[in-house]
Amino acid sequence: MNLRLPSKVLEHIISFIDSNEDRNSVSLVCKSWFETERKTRKRVFVGNCYAITPAAVARRFPEMRSLTLKGKPHFADYNLVPDGWGGYAWPWIEAMAKKSPSLEEIRLKRMVVTDECLELIAASFKDFKVLVLTSCEGFSTDGIAAIAATCRNLRVLELRECIVEDLGGDWLSYFPETSTSLVSLDFSCLDSEVKLSDLERLVSRSPDLKSLKLNPAVTVDGLESLLRRAPQLTELGTGSFSAELKPEAFSKLSEAFTNCKQLKCLSGLWDVLPEYLPALYSVCPGLTSLNLSYATVRMPDLVELLRRCSKLQKLWVMDLIEDKGLETVASCCKELRELRVFPSVPDLDATNVALTEQGLVFVSQGCPKLESVLYFCVQFTNAALITIARNRPNIKCFRLCVIEPFAPDYKTNEPLDKGFKAIAERCKYLQRLSVSGLLTDKAFKYIAKHAKKVRMLSVAFAGDSDLMLHHLLSGCESLKKLEIRDCPFGDTALLENASKLETMRSLWLSSCFVSFGACKLLSQKMPRLNVEVIDEHPPETRPESSPVERIYIYRTVAGPRLDMPEFVWTIHKNPEIGVSHLAIK
């Protein structure tokens, strides 16, 4: 039976497939499907920039228009990855500039981006449209100026929580007067003040502008003026809301907000004074996303705002909301899908005792669509976890951070094993899980057995022995990213389950008891894994059985990387050469 479709037909069919996971499956069917798929893929996602070489990507996807890359491991967000580890964007930009000049969109996360990179982007991609940098570093406002000045059709420029060398606010004035294509601008992470008149003119001549996120240097007056010029905004990040309130300013601002009838997402609100909040009341009924996580507003002002947001789907807030506030959210925000509660005092000395596990229980009871949770809390109970799991089996992302390490169920003094067991068992669609509090190996047995769809798992200060790691690596069928810190297992489980590691994107281990010898063995046994030991001292100066501080293991077809700093050690695949870090100067 001849099942071969003409390639044009196949191409047409495949062009309807957007999901890269599906496309990856398509490409495995047979050679001709592989060829057809690769020639039609426009949006390329590389989850680990060291898993494959830029040249290989450019070669495989000649029609690439959008490239998304991720660099450093997730725990870099919490200062666990030393500076200089890697994640450089340059080799990618350089390769794409030569081989994929039609590239239009670049999205980078946790990568080191230099001004040279940005200048090269500006110079090489004629129809460049979208630049999104998330948690990146290494560049200055000069690089941004280059993008602004040169990319004539730029639509999206977003700097999300980047560390930027701020040389002043001039970069904004580099947008030429002819630039009218802007759809989204986010400079909320920059410090310097930009010239308001430049910003006003830019906003006025950008009729398609839908998303504008200002930095804290923009005043209330500035905000009001911008809103008047862009009432069509759907996403707004306000500037600073903490200036002294003048009555006319307040009423003008209220009016400006009233005219923004399409506003759906609101963020910023740095240090907002409670007196300003009523200016926002007019937009509340239409809001689907509200980020109050930098707003130092307390109860009851918070509740006055939230009870008006009946369509809210996403809420980010600080623990200043307290259980009472979450009770109100549970009764007013029935469309809520995502809740994140951050600590207002971000250290171990947590002082807000008015936010407890009860707050999350309220929301799990009252919000039937709740599927994504990030919750920081001083302590927790099994009963609460079980209740939450029973109420919301539709949860897909559950990240609980019990701020006290090793904190047991504070009512029964037991480990939180039972609670997380309930979460794993009942939430059958769970894709992302972070556990905390006092946990024994048993907890991981339950998770391994039941959490079949979990792709990313974060563990800290938990477990008793190698069993915990063994459970996770021999269970958890869908596991792709595992990050563990400060857990008491050694080499055994890791070496036992070496083959699992090739089915995963990456594994991060820090402050555990894995020895250098095990790393060597693993590296020799598994040629398609890069086993990076991140350690200040050369590992040979210690016995092979002594533990190493940090290990980052990831699958790769690119071989060991050549840009390692002096503190990253990989075992050379040729045992005669031994340990090296092949740093290129």
Partner: protein, 300 residues
């Protein structure tokens, strides 16, 4: 008063967890009947046993603690934030396992030291008076909050002011009219502290049993054992005898910022003047008693 070193105390209910030896044998023959030992990858020659890796740091825990050797003490996380500390000779019996003589041991680069950019989380010292014991250190990357958020919150003025006034209010409140009286409880050697509402206890007895429960993982559980009698019918002076006899004592900081032994003054007076509690080793608390006498004298 010496610096509190986060020593090799185990911080979890010690009776609950298996020792390292038990754990290893669990692995070699677990409930599913899989024999891991047969397939176990080892570092030595075939036929030799991999040495059990018992970390020396745990062997020095007081003998009265049932040791859970497998746990990495929190102190290492703290130490790791500032210095890259490896206890040399941290493992026993390396035997024929890689003592550096294997084929892969020669390094390409010479061993010169490199400048290493450490993650930027300093150890935070307590800002209070010189007589107060040093507080616990901060741990790198915990709680897991992005630097961007940490930096933004650190510069947030209204939050700082808000917190300060909250704390002052809480500390100024005392006496039965107030709904609750939260004080921090820290323990020497423990990596974190707790907060308790003193209003929920009616006597020193209740307080001490609550504290013991909270920090039982740290203490050697000698509260009940001294003098051979149970805790029934304990009055205040008996309790203080007990506390004084054991390894640890409970002290508190009063309104004058002096550190006093808990149990010396009537309960109501204690409630009025206690600002925070600290459980410290008896040896550290020796200097406190005379001050208590002075205070009593000056009041009477």
């Amino acid at each position: 008063m010496s610096e509190s070193v986060a020593a090799e105390h185990d911080y979890i209910g010690l009776t609950e967890f298996p020792t390292m030896e038990a754990t290893m044998s669990d692995i070699t023959k677990n409930e599913d009947g899989l024999n891991f030992k047969a397939t176990e990858l080892r570092l030595g020659l075939p036929g030799s046993e991999s040495p059990e890796r018992v970390d020396q740091r745990f062997l020095s825990i007081k003998s009265s603690c049932p040791v859970s050797g497998a746990k990495r003490v929190f102190s290492d996380a703290i130490n790791g934030s500032n210095k890259w500390v490896f206890s040399s000779g941290s493992t026993t019996a390396t035997g024929d396992v890689g003592s550096g003589s294997g084929p892969g041991s020669s390094a390409v680069k010479d061993g010169k030291s490199t400048t290493f950019t450490k993650p930027a989380v300093p150890v935070k010292e307590q800002k209070s008076s010189a007589t107060a014991p040093a507080s616990k250190a901060q741990v790198v990357g915990w709680p897991p909050i992005r630097s961007f958020r940490k930096n933004t919150m650190a510069s947030s003025q209204s939050l700082k002011q808000g917190n300060n006034s909250e704390i002052k209010e809480a500390e100024a409140k005392s006496g039965p009219e107030q709904p609750c009286l939260y004080v921090k409880v820290s323990m020497e050697g423990a990596p974190y502290l707790r907060k308790i509402d003193l209003k929920t206890y009616k006597s020193y007895l209740e307080l001490s049993s609550a504290l013991e429960k909270m920090f039982s993982c740290f203490t050697i559980g000698q509260f009940g054992s001294h003098g051979g009698c149970g805790r029934d019918g304990l009055n205040e002076s008996r309790l203080t005898d007990l506390l004084r006899g054991s390894e640890y004592v409970v002290t508190y900081e009063d309104k004058d910022s002096d550190w006093m032994l808990v149990g010396d003054v009537p309960w109501e007076m204690f409630l009025c003047s206690c600002k925070k509690l600290r459980i410290m080793k008896s040896s550290e608390a020796i200097g406190l008693a005379p001050r208590v006498m002075e205070k009593c004298r000056s009041r009477n």
